[in-house]
Chain length 246, copies 2
């Protein structure tokens, strides 16, 4: 893993990272004992500096967490392959035509998740190899839409992640099956009035989590218009289950 | 309003209160500037020192709020009238026989709410007449089951209450109608696996609130087994919308 830039803002060091084909960001609070390491996955079509991801990162950093985000394949300036390109185009057409998005999102997100999982695992290996992070800090994962789909599948194969917060997501069967294998504490945030994400299947996803510690938070409005206290609640969730108080 | 006992524990002064036929408790944090005044209604068959109410009170007091609770008619040692007695008996029989509880709960809780509303208003008048509280402190309401039914109806006639948190509740039509009139910030906590309270109608109640600021929190388990962080979240809700930080 290489760092290609470093900036400081307040108590936070922000570094752009590169690992093979992967690009991403590492945010580290400068002061205090190292807190939990939280991996944040951005939403579909977004990148590591998307507003929702940054809102979560800000609250996590204020709570003493270290935060890492990587761009999914074909996102954040990474080259998009031909199959992805066709699916994204189909998605945009379906959106314009008012046709169901779920079958296209399912194919695209499962394909992206398959490629993103080894990338997240390699990133976590590299982060834990850094002396300032190490492999003692508890690890959490967070993400919405594509970031939640990747996270749900990642959790089924990655025992180092011991808490996960998911934002609004278009639910399909493979995610329900993944949720049934998840036993770590989960917080799931749903937006109730999103024109593209029917919230009702989210209740089935919430029920599917095998976790004994799980919470569902529902807010009115669209998935990308969560109130700031929703992001604060997510930060509290991690620090509650992974240690340290926000 | 008369205080018939006063005890201190930590920074909190606890006073038993009597106002006409009403009995209740006032908890005041000794130090700091006076915070919001939160009115807590206990659940059906419970009283002002029920475990869930005390859990909420503890988090609220830690956040600098003043907390008042009164016993509903026929509760907490207050005499139970003949009609209430018959309805409570019918409820217990329905529970044993596995028959639907909703029609009985609806009749009982609406009747109790009708009587409890002027009692809460008289209590709030008396509390605001106390120099240590006054009528400048913002006022919130909280309660589950019976306490939520009373609160929902109370909110429709009491403009002094400007934020409300509701716990798990057996939903019936009159409550949906009341929720449609509620415009203040609302936090609604639901238990997903309660044998007596089907959570699905709670989603309809959540949708019915006319409030632009509203949140639904869902936890697994029974209505009287909420995790402690659910009570902490409620305290944060009040202090977020009524001032002061927990």
């Amino acid at each position: 893993m290489q760092f290609i830039s470093e900036t400081r803002s307040g108590n936070v060091v922000e570094r752009d990272l590169v690992l093979d084909d992967i690009t991403g960001v590492l945010w580290t609070p400068e002061s205090g004992a190292p807190g939990p390491l939280i991996l944040l996955g951005h939403g579909g079509g977004m990148h590591t500096r998307a507003p929702g991801l940054l809102a979560n990162a800000r609250h996590l950093l204020a709570g003493g967490c270290t935060v890492a985000a990587i761009n999914a394949p074909g996102h954040g300036g990474r080259p998009r392959d031909e199959q992805d390109r066709q699916l994204v185009e189909a998605l945009q057409q379906a959106r314009v035509m008012g046709r169901p998005l779920t079958p296209i999102v399912e194919e695209l997100n499962l394909s992206l998740a398959e490629r993103a999982i080894p990338e997240w695992q390699a990133t976590l290996d590299a982060l834990q190899a850094m002396p300032e992070i190490g492999n003692e800090a508890p690890v959490g994962y967070g993400g919405a839409t594509l970031g939640a789909a990747i996270g749900l599948r990642l959790l089924t194969v990655e025992p180092r992640i011991t808490a996960a917060a998911f934002g609004p997501i278009l639910v399909f069967d493979a995610l329900i099956e993944a949720a049934k294998q998840v036993t770590v504490p989960v917080e799931f945030t749903v937006s109730w009035d999103d024109p593209e994400i029917d919230p009702r299947p989210s209740l089935t996803l919430f029920e599917a989590f095998a976790s004994t510690e799980k919470a569902l938070h529902v807010y009115p409005g669209r998935h990308n218009r969560l109130p700031d206290y929703a992001h604060h609640a997510m930060a509290q969730f991690y620090t509650r289950h992974l240690g340290r108080t926000v």
